[in-house]
Subunit: 420 residues, 2 copies
């Protein structure tokens, strides 16, 4: 059973650091047994957890949370099922720890091996969705990291019930104490303390709105991997297959507009603007998309509103699309360089040198030729699971799966070598 | 020729960001031609640069800099030679950009390739040694990164002369403008501005004393890779070859005590303390090493002084060694966990399971079996060159060579895929 004493944030960091040493030596088989026990315990406590969730939903309704927020908060049966199934999916994934990333022998006989190892202690700071408690804990555990979870205050009852279930379920099969901890206080100060635990917390991953993430970055003294926003672009080149382009743009904008890999701005080469834009407008307007264009786009699409300078930087997360006609590919890439968020951007073109230039020059985590940007996703990449998407450039870029939750060390074996 | 107008730090960041796009498309051959032109220009301006260095040395002497600092500042002929030779060494290294780090095809036909790319814009903040201007600029350029260099104020004349030589030499062969920039002001505020250029500077690497590095970390809003200190350990196990252990400990302490991969603390298993410590003391005391031991060590070595709690955390960088007798390997690893700096630590033992446990459990960038810790170094690893050593865990650990100056992106090629 977990200790019932409430620890301070620093004590939690120290306990996590101690746990991380025990996690580093668990076998894959042992970890999978523990994960299975977590899944079973969640199932066993389903009604208890859903009752806790109901408390959060009632408090949220009373506090006047929006319908969208209440929806995100709800642990429906379907979501519960998928959360539990997620654990079995992670069990099936390969252990990311202990992979050899390279090895060589030096002329003096030293054998150097570069081996993947856990990062150590990871802090996850997230907002309303309580299932993140389980999803994140399970990925951190499978990669032998200790985790400190800090969820939103509106989900505190749900998060406590979920964390207790996986901790206590896991401990039945040998989960090290304090390998998974939930911050019990809802005070904001706890976040600051957590992200300043240099030497105890090795990485913080904030998941949520831009406000949360900026606050974490400003306060942090430990490394942060983050994702501010997804202002994704498609550039329709003069050599694009225009019929196919309509399908791709439609998909990238409307298939699920509220997510980070949906596009916000479309850039169109001036040579095809007249042919392409009315075709596209037909399709999108029928689907209820609001179009905001520069003067040339508005000229081609009478229904479009005039875009302002602010539109180019906006992450709408909604059925709104900004449109701009550009002089050439260079101008399109300039626009992306200035307004993009280094997330996902695509070129639609049949011209190989245009494709190559775009892939090389556009500085985003994922760059596409002739496909929808909606594929930037751990599952779609085949990584199996994802803890988040990084728009940073250090350590991890794009979808972060289990391997991105590891680092490496050099293990060197000698037989008495000294430096001359 | 470089522009003579003095840019603000933000303008330098913007110029570097623009340069980084041009750097990303330079061929390896082109980069090597530019590097050669830099080396030639340095040679051509040798006397001019050494005259600038003389100004710094005179000002430093007047300002009362220590002999050690003046020595670090001096661009002697030998150092100049080795700085120029360093450029030819980097020319000979493989281009780290454009490596395929993996590729696969998804069931829907999307071809995903993970490719190494430059990080973008790197800020290097360093202290007295002016040769860092050239060494760091050359490594950043070879890896297609734009660099903003900020050296110590005591080396400002040398750094200006060196930076002008490589910029102007490189530009003769097509070095993009502003690919290499030196901060011209010596005002401290410039460092703060530089490390807060979110969206323009992708990485900051501070090189220097702990004070400089802590100041950078506290002010930074952009990622920092750093190396606070090297408190390295050797643990002499009960199953160590004691004669060999004397040689290895001697080497790790005395071969060059002023560097980060020299050891500061020796941990000895209690079963071999009586046999080993007097043997070791003979060797080390003859070499002028001051020994500071716990009570058991002092009992074995009458010449040893009593260590205080503070000794376990000290980076002496000098001929001083802290000694502690431990109950067992677990206690040794606990000590390293508590007092180490995640740099380099070694076990000396003939016992395979003890070796394995140490390699697995000690959380340092480099862990050794039966060898001196002095090998943690880019050249000794065979990386060819090193921009620094990281004691962080994210992105790069241990010696950072050219590959560690790259990140990756996903390049995805489709033929019309949309997400169902």
């Amino acid at each position: 059973m977990s200790s019932k004493k409430t620890l301070s944030i620093r004590e939690m960091g120290e306990a996590a650091s101690a746990a991380s040493r025990r996690l580093a030596v668990l076998s894959s088989r042992r970890k999978n047994n523990i994960l299975e026990a977590m899944a079973e315990e969640l199932e066993a406590r389903r009604s208890e957890i859903q009752a806790a969730n109901k408390l959060d939903l009632e408090a949220g309704a009373k506090a006047g949370l929006s319908k969208a927020m209440l929806d995100r908060l709800a642990l429906t049966d379907a979501r519960f099922d998928s959360m539990v199934k997620g654990i079995y999916d992670v069990i099936a994934l390969k252990d990311p720890v202990g992979r050899s990333l390279g090895g060589w022998v030096r002329p003096n006989g030293l054998e150097i091996e570069k081996v993947s190892v856990p990062i150590g202690v990871i802090g996850i700071i997230f907002e309303s969705r309580p299932n993140v408690t389980v999803d994140a804990a399970v990925l951190c555990f499978k990669s032998s990291n200790a985790v400190i979870l800090r969820g939103g205050k509106e989900a505190i009852h749900s998060n406590r019930a979920l964390a207790a279930a996986i901790q206590e379920g896991g401990e039945k099969k040998g989960l090290p104490a304090n390998a998974i901890q939930l911050v019990q206080t809802i005070q904001r100060e706890a976040v600051r303390e957590l992200v300043q635990l240099e030497g105890l917390v090795d990485l913080v991953i904030p998941r949520g709105g831009e406000g949360l993430i900026r606050a974490v970055v400003e306060q942090a003294r430990v490394p942060v991997i983050k994702h501010y926003k997804g202002v994704c672009h498609i550039y329709v080149d003069k050599d694009a297959d225009l019929n196919r382009a309509v399908d791709i743009v439609d998909n990238a904008k409307t298939q699920r507009p509220g997510v980070c890999n949906a596009i916000e701005t479309l850039l169109v080469h001036k040579d095809v603007a007249e042919a392409f834009l009315p075709m596209l407008a037909n399709r999108l307007i029928a689907k209820g998309v609001e179009l905001r264009g520069d003067s040339e786009s508005c000229h081609q699409i009478p229904e479009a509103k005039a875009a302002t300078e602010a539109d180019w930087d906006e992450e709408y997360l909604d059925l709104i699309l900004a449109l701009r006609v550009v002089e050439d590919q260079e101008a399109a890439m300039d626009h992306i360089h200035r307004h993009g968020s280094k997330h996902s951007d695509a070129i639609l073109s049949e011209n190989e040198s245009a494709q190559k230039l775009f892939l090389q020059q556009v500085d985003s985590s994922t760059v596409y030729v002739n496909a929808s940007t909606r594929f930037t996703d751990g599952q779609e990449f085949g990584l199996g699971a994802e803890i988040g998407i990084s728009t940073d450039k250090l350590h991890a870029r794009g979808p972060m799966g289990l391997e991105e939750l590891t680092t490496y060390k050099y293990q060197i074996t000698g037989n008495g070598q000294i430096r001359p």
